[in-house]
């Protein structure tokens, strides 16, 4: 699945994203994510800071469902993902670490937001949810 360029504003970290995961027993978990990062045309990366249940779920069930929101239009994007691998060093990790520092600085969480790993997901599907907004008056 090729990630459309139109989604890029929603990946700038201005509006927190949300990630739903599930355990192998089918118990859902839903968490707020600081950062969903464009890794390449087929993959997104999510910052792993301290979401312990999310990490545990992804070890036993690779699937996730992400929502990101355009910071101007408020249009949500719904993204089905599957965990591919995690990175704890390298270019992607460093780029995400830098962006996370900027996000933390904007919201006064410099001492809290520390990147542990970049979780890299294959994108299975992307849907722009503009049907949830009324037409502008």
């Amino acid at each position: 699945m090729i990630i459309p360029k139109e989604i890029l504003p929603a990946l700038n970290g201005a509006i927190p994203a949300t990630l739903a995961t599930a355990s192998k027993d089918g118990i859902p978990n839903v968490g707020v994510m600081s950062q969903v990062f464009y890794a390449n045309e087929k993959q997104l990366a999510i910052s792993h800071q301290f979401f312990s249940k999310t990490s545990a779920n992804l070890k036993e069930n690779l699937r996730g469902h992400v929502q990101v929101i355009d910071p101007i239009t408020a249009v949500p994007w719904f993204i089905e993902v599957e965990l591919d691998h995690e990175e704890t060093s390298g270019d992607l990790f460093e780029q995400m670490e830098m962006q996370l520092e900027a996000i933390a600085s904007m919201c006064g969480m410099e001492d809290v937001f520390k990147l542990q790993a970049a979780y890299v997901f294959n994108v299975i599907s992307i849907r722009k949810g503009d049907e949830v907004l009324r037409a502008p008056e």
Binding site: T18, T21, K24, P28, G31, I72, T73, A74, V132, L133
Partner: protein, 154 residues
């Protein structure tokens, strides 16, 4: 069990996220625009715009487990409640009036954080008609971003 802390959090400047899972064990996220419950009780009422409700309702037919995240956007204080689906019904006119009140309140709040254009567009989200999902809360987890997040509280 719903504590005073959770009721206070739901009445603060909070956003609500709902997690469900279908029969193939594929998770799904949906936004809620209003949640309420009473201190000392276990029933929680979660309102989802009908336009967003088809997938979570189908998921809940296949798998009754549900998770809801309540997070105050002004201070990041957050809790996750997990439990079992009990049923669904249309939101009442009184509940829809409350959803509209919260949407108006958030338009002002979001304008401060993300700018007036985003806030104005946010207010265009179609919140009516709305579906109320009832769940029985069985577990509560710490969700505030900090060391120890994810720990079980109840």
């Amino acid at each position: 069990m719903i504590s005073q802390e959770i009721v206070d959090l739901m009445n603060a400047n909070s956003v609500f996220a709902v997690g469900t899972v279908n029969g193939k064990n594929e998770p799904f996220y949906t936004r809620s625009y209003y949640m309420h419950g009473n201190v000392g009780e276990s029933k929680l009422f979660v309102h989802i715009p009908e336009i967003m409700a088809a997938r979570p309702l189908q998921d809940l037919k296949e798998n009754q487990h549900i998770a809801v995240n309540v997070a105050d956007i002004t201070n990041f204080f957050a809790r996750q409640l997990k439990g079992m689906f009990l049923g669904s019904r249309p939101s009442t006119s009184e509940e829809i009036a409350e959803i509209k009140r919260l949407q108006n309140k958030f338009e002002g709040l979001l304008g401060n954080f993300f700018g007036p254009e985003f806030a104005s567009n946010w207010s265009r989200i179609i919140i009516e008609p709305s579906i109320c999902i009832t769940l029985e809360v069985q577990e509560v987890f710490e969700q505030t971003p900090k060391s120890g997040t994810g720990g079980k509280i109840i």
